[in-house]
């Protein structure tokens, strides 16, 4: 069993600031709550898998960790596309 202290710190940051971020996102625009939850949930999954791979099933959890980050990246692109549509993109691609 081995943990890196920074892995625990990452998870703690997520546990403290994640709910705050979700609460704020809900107040800004309830429609962003689902994409923000998915983004943070996937990053959270990655953090948990990173820690647990030091305890059990290292190969599988390592795979989970890396795919969670990949899915999180796609989810952030989805979130940004949704936000861009909501705030009204001006003259995209033109000068």
């Amino acid at each position: 069993m081995s943990f890196e202290p920074y892995e625990i710190a990452d998870l703690l940051m997520m546990l403290v600031l994640g709910p705050v971020t979700l609460a704020v996102a809900r107040r800004i625009a309830p429609s962003t709550l689902v994409p923000v939850s998915v983004c943070l949930g996937l990053v959270f999954t990655g953090y948990v898998a990173t820690i647990l791979e030091g305890v059990t099933a290292p190969l599988f959890l390592n795979l989970v960790e890396h795919w969670a980050y990949a899915a999180a990246g796609i989810a952030f692109v989805w979130l940004l596309a949704k936000v861009a549509a909501a705030i009204g993109v001006r003259g995209a691609g033109r000068r």
């Binding site: 971020t21 800004i28 990246g73 993109v89």
Partner: protein, 224 residues
């Protein structure tokens, strides 16, 4: 196994790079997305671009020497995301306040225009008989002048007289005197000039039922 991991890392790298580029290039007039919001969110996306690069290098067998720095980078991710969300929320509240303030200013301008368009005089007296507001008609008829602070003062020698009883009436009497409907008064000036007025007054009460003052409307009927 490494190929599957490498594919995940390349997917992650591409997705976060796209997210980073979108963050920096989306054009918007929205007051919610300030430069600082954009840059801090870009830092969050950039952190995972670097993590992706490190993982790709590691899982394609090039080098694993950046692996130890990943967790350092990731520790900044949540503060950056939380700061971005909080700042957008604060910006939305500020934008709402500005919009309300603009609407109130526009409504105030409209009401002032309406009140100033009335041909007669309209003054609002406080409970003590001081003039809290006067429209342009009142300023013209009664010679009221705003001082530098914007509050009004009355020409000192000016006084009101009831032509029926001959008694001098103060604005305090009018403010405390209940409703008056089209009653004649004479404003007498030190140079013996007199302005005949027809005056109506309606008391204003606060939510607690206390007298807050009166709205007084009058017209110059001199010579009629």
């Amino acid at each position: 196994m490494n190929a599957v991991l490498a594919f995940a890392d390349i997917t992650s790298l591409i997705a976060f790079t796209v997210a980073l580029v979108m963050t920096l290039t989306i054009k918007t007039d929205s007051p919610l997305v300030t430069k600082s919001v954009r840059y801090v969110f870009a830092v969050a996306m950039g952190l995972y671009v670097l993590v992706g690069i490190s993982n790709v290098l590691e899982n394609t067998g090039i080098t694993a020497s950046f692996d130890r720095y990943e967790d350092f980078l990731e520790i900044l991710f949540m503060p950056a995301i939380a700061w971005t969300a909080s700042t957008i929320y604060l910006n939305s509240q500020l934008a709402q306040q500005r919009s309300l303030s603009r609407a109130m200013r526009s409504q105030n301008d409209l009401l002032m225009n309406i009140v100033d368009t009335v041909p007669g005089g309209v003054v609002v007296l406080d409970a003590a008989g001081g003039i809290a507001f006067a429209n342009q008609g009142a300023e013209r008829i009664l010679g009221l002048q705003s001082d530098d602070g914007g509050s009004l003062r009355i020409t000192p020698q000016w006084r009101l007289r009831n032509p029926l009883s001959g008694a001098t009436v103060t604005l305090g009497d009018i403010a405390a005197g209940g409703s008056i409907e089209r009653r004649p008064f004479i404003a007498e000036w030190p140079d013996r000039r007199a302005t005949s007025l027809t005056l109506s007054s309606t008391p204003m009460y606060g939510a607690d039922g206390e007298l807050n003052g009166s709205v007084v409307a009058f017209e110059d009927v001199t010579g009629r």
